[in-house]
């Protein structure tokens, strides 16, 4: 593996990675500021009963983990979406080994399932795309969603190629990844596939949809609201 330390390309890759991470946090902060300002403006929400909250939490966990609401409205799409989200979660777990030293056991255990999930993810994305086309739903979807789908597909394909046919220097990648998170960046490996993979992830970070943070909160609220619906005008 050839290193490009202190070259324009290497510095550019490192800078782009930091810019993307910074942009991600700034975006998150701007959104959090909006929520905070609104919280200060709005009257406090009516408290929910302890039983309702405990029940809501349990049911919400099911709603979030199994995307239950989507299952109810579109079972065919649910299959792809659940496979996609579960695979992505496992892949992220698998990738944690690059950012942690020593690698904890639970990350080690996630390696094989994460490797399998790497193959499942592009299949799930392809399935989602086909289902959306077949149901004529794609015309309603935003271009950002389509772009994200294609971006994720490209990330998945470059990832698979690196783990099967065109092997990369994992130690060098780990040095680079650890360097980024510890603000002591090492030169990025120069393999074309890795650089493509990294650049695609950087692009994804720039426009990652905010629903990944907020949707679970809304699901929790929706579950609570569903439980409360029968108390709005009925005696509890």
């Amino acid at each position: 593996m050839v290193f490009v330390k202190e070259t324009t390309l290497g510095a550019g890759v490192i800078a782009a990675t930091y810019v993307a991470i910074a942009a991600f946090y700034v975006r998150l902060a701007v959104h959090a500021l909006r929520w905070y300002e609104a919280t200060r403006r709005s009257p406090p929400a009516r408290p929910r009963g302890v039983a309702a909250s405990a029940r809501a939490l349990t049911a919400t966990a099911v709603d979030i983990v199994f995307l239950r609401r989507l299952l109810l409205v579109n079972p065919a799409l649910w299959l792809g979406e659940w496979a996609f989200h579960a695979s992505l979660f496992m892949i992220i777990l698998r990738h944690l080994r690059y950012f942690m030293h020593p690698v904890p056991d639970w990350v080690t255990w996630a390696q094989t399932p994460g490797w399998i999930a790497g193959f499942l993810l592009p299949l799930a994305l392809g399935y989602i795309f086909v289902i959306r086309l077949l149901t004529g739903q794609e015309k309603f979807s935003s271009r950002a969603n389509l772009l994200m789908l294609m971006n994720l597909l490209a990330i998945a394909i470059t990832g698979i190629l690196m783990s099967t046919r065109y092997r990369v220097d994992l130690a060098a990648i780990k040095l680079f990844a650890l360097g980024v998170v510890t603000f002591n960046p090492a030169a990025p490996p120069t393999g074309v596939l890795f650089l493509c993979h990294l650049c695609l992830v950087v692009v994804l970070l720039l426009y990652i949809p905010s629903h990944i943070f907020t949707a679970p909160l809304v699901m929790m609220d929706a579950r609570g609201r569903q439980i409360e619906l029968h108390r709005v005008i009925h005696d509890a």
Binding site: V30, R34, A45, V73, S142, A144, F213, T214, D221, V232
Partner: protein, 408 residues
């Protein structure tokens, strides 16, 4: 440096989060009644949220916070205003949202923002505050005509009672068989009930709330609540789903504290009276009926079982269900104060309800909302498919002993 008014000035934190949480998946479109009759995705729920995110960015985004707010294309604002006011606010999109956004309250809040910016309300909705100021109702009808044309002569109203009945403006002026049925059934239970005089029974505030015109709301609510409190009321009964919805969900906040009485939909009260034996149905009705769940009653406050209990208590009656019923009911087209501005949409939606009721061979279409009652009746005018439309209390009054033909 002063920031421009935020597009999210009236949004709660939860609503900000909801706007961020929309995945733009488009699942809601299959359930949106406006989509069904217009086929125009430009006015769809995800498109409204996408546009509103753009607007928010211009006043609350990073650039705006750093002192460089962007201008909003006025044409986009107009398109958005039309889209948000064309919505019937039925909430089917939220009910079927894979994330669970509470759209039945989000859309009215976005309407309010457009009103603050001078872009809404639209058409006849603009006259509502003035009409309510003058006459106490959004139809600008005289208070003297509120009860007189339909109130049954034999029914007495107590000066003070534990129970009060609120007829509501739409029922009193636009769906009189319905409110007449309400009063007859209440009378038949034998429970004394009180009512405010016609000039004091003003609008509940829902038409103003739903069109984003909130200035008069608190005043109306305080006036009504104090009126009922002075009569010693412990339970306020109403048949209009929109009134009952705002009374139970928003009146406490507008009043500033818990209400001194409970709110009940009339079907709840009647279902209880039937269970307790206070109300007996002396004759049977050999008919097949189909019941339509009003959006603000079913999705809005969860009153789903009681209307069915009331209907099933009528001997001989066969009750059919729409394909979409209960929490998933389809809007009849009259919701969200859109029916008088987007008349064609409302008629087309109403005819979908009629089509299904006729296809299922129901003898009657049973409604329990004055807005539905008015608009679905209108939708049937000049339509090749015809069905008898009856309010649930109108039907019950019909089968009660006192309401036998010739007994009036």
């Amino acid at each position: 440096m002063t920031r421009k008014r935020s597009f999210g000035a009236d949004l709660t934190a939860r609503q900000f989060i909801e706007i961020d949480a929309c995945t733009q998946c488009g699942e809601c479109l299959k359930h949106c009644p406006v989509q069904v009759v217009t086929g125009n995705p430009a006015i769809s729920p995800p498109e409204k949220i996408r546009l509103f995110r753009e607007f928010l960015r211009t006043t609350d985004g990073l650039k705006a916070r750093l002192g460089f707010p962007a201008a909003v294309d006025p044409r986009l604002l107009e398109d958005f205003t039309k889209a948000v006011f064309e919505c019937t606010t039925c909430g089917a999109c939220g009910q079927n949202c894979p994330v669970g956004i509470f759209t039945q309250r989000l859309w009215p809040t976005l309407r309010k923002e457009m009103v603050q910016r001078g872009l809404g309300p639209l058409g006849i909705q603009k006259g509502m505050p003035g009409a309510i100021e003058r006459s106490g109702n959004p139809y600008d009808k005289p208070a003297a005509d509120r009860f007189a044309p339909w109130f049954p002569e034999k029914v007495e109203v107590a000066e003070r009672a534990d129970i009060a009945y609120y007829a509501g403006c739409s029922g009193a002026y636009e769906a009189q068989p319905m409110v007449r049925g309400d009063v007859l059934v209440l009378h038949a239970t034998g429970e004394p009930f009180t009512m405010l005089p016609p000039e004091e029974e003003v609008c509940c505030g829902f038409p103003l709330f739903i069109t984003g015109q909130h200035e008069m709301l608190a005043g109306l609510v305080k006036r009504l609540v104090e009126g009922y409190r002075a009569r010693g009321v412990k339970t306020l009964i109403c048949s209009c789903p929109c009134c009952v919805n705002i009374m139970s969900r928003d009146w406490p906040a507008l009043y500033g504290r818990e209400l001194p009485f409970k709110i009940r939909h009339i079907t709840q009260f009647v279902a209880d009276a039937l269970k307790q034996g206070k109300l007996r149905i002396p004759r049977e009705l050999r008919e097949t009926v189909i019941y339509h769940d009003p959006c603000y009653l079913s999705r809005g406050i969860g009153v789903i079982a009681e209307p069915r209990e009331v209907l099933r208590s009528i001997p001989g009656l066969t009750l059919l269900e729409f394909e979409r019923h209960g929490l998933n009911s389809r809007c009849c087209g009259s919701g969200g104060a859109a029916r008088k501005v987007f008349h064609e949409n409302a008629i087309a939606m109403g005819r979908l309800t009629i089509d299904e009721a006729v296809a299922k061979k129901a003898d009657r279409l049973i409604l329990s909302c004055p807005a539905c009652y008015g608009k679905v009746n209108e939708a049937m005018q000049g339509y090749e498919k015809q069905i008898r439309i009856t309010d649930i209390m109108e039907l019950l009054a019909l089968v009660l002993e006192e309401e036998r033909p010739g007994a009036r």
